[in-house]
Symmetry: C2
Subunit: 92 residues, 2 copies
DNA sequence: GGTAGTTACGAATTTCGTAACAATC
DNA sequence: GATTGTTACGAAATTCGTAACTACC
């Protein structure tokens, strides 16, 4: 599991479409499709239902999405906090 | 930034020593040292003070440690939640 | 036949470990 | 000189993109 995979998952979940998510991430479809497959393989369960029009979240995917967003938000918060402290009062 | 880097950071923060953290992670020292350097480079500020006996957290590192632990805990929770839902009532 | 996701495969990138280095006691 | 972290560098592993494939309207 990697942050890249998590970002990919969120993009596909939000777009409901690997192709659009790939464009949004400036990536081609195959690697993005592989990210999702790797995630599903690692978690041991499918996260999406493949329809003729795209990808629809399964219950496991809905559950993962909540955590995924929290993880990415926490990473963001970590970066901002550290940058603030790092350039803070004691720093030259 | 990757989850691997975050795990490496937490191990070094807890051990106060790259060598011990490397053994704990089943990794050799150089890659682990590089993980920390990459993290510091990406965050734009040092996280540790290098002493003659090991690594001591700087204020920026202390701040990052709180977030890092939350990120790893959230990843863990995501895995467990999805596994539970995935093998849940609707699944065969 | 058009639109969707996936698989094959070679090229580019990343990451590892051994060895050598630098610095502090 | 022993113990620490870091840099050099070649080998191994990963990840990418193009092209080809499969499946469903």
């Amino acid at each position: 599991m990697s942050l890249t995979h998590i970002q990919s998952f969120v993009a596909v979940a939000e777009e409901g479409h690997v192709g659009r998510a790939a464009r949004r991430l400036h990536l081609s479809q195959p690697p993005l499709s592989r990210h999702i497959l790797a995630l599903e393989d690692e978690l041991g369960t499918p996260l999406f239902e493949r329809t003729s029009r795209g990808m629809r979240l399964l219950p496991a995917g809905e559950a993962f999405l909540l955590h995924a967003r929290r993880i990415l938000a926490e990473v963001d918060a970590a970066v901002h906090t550290v940058r603030k402290v790092g350039t803070g009062p004691t720093e030259q």
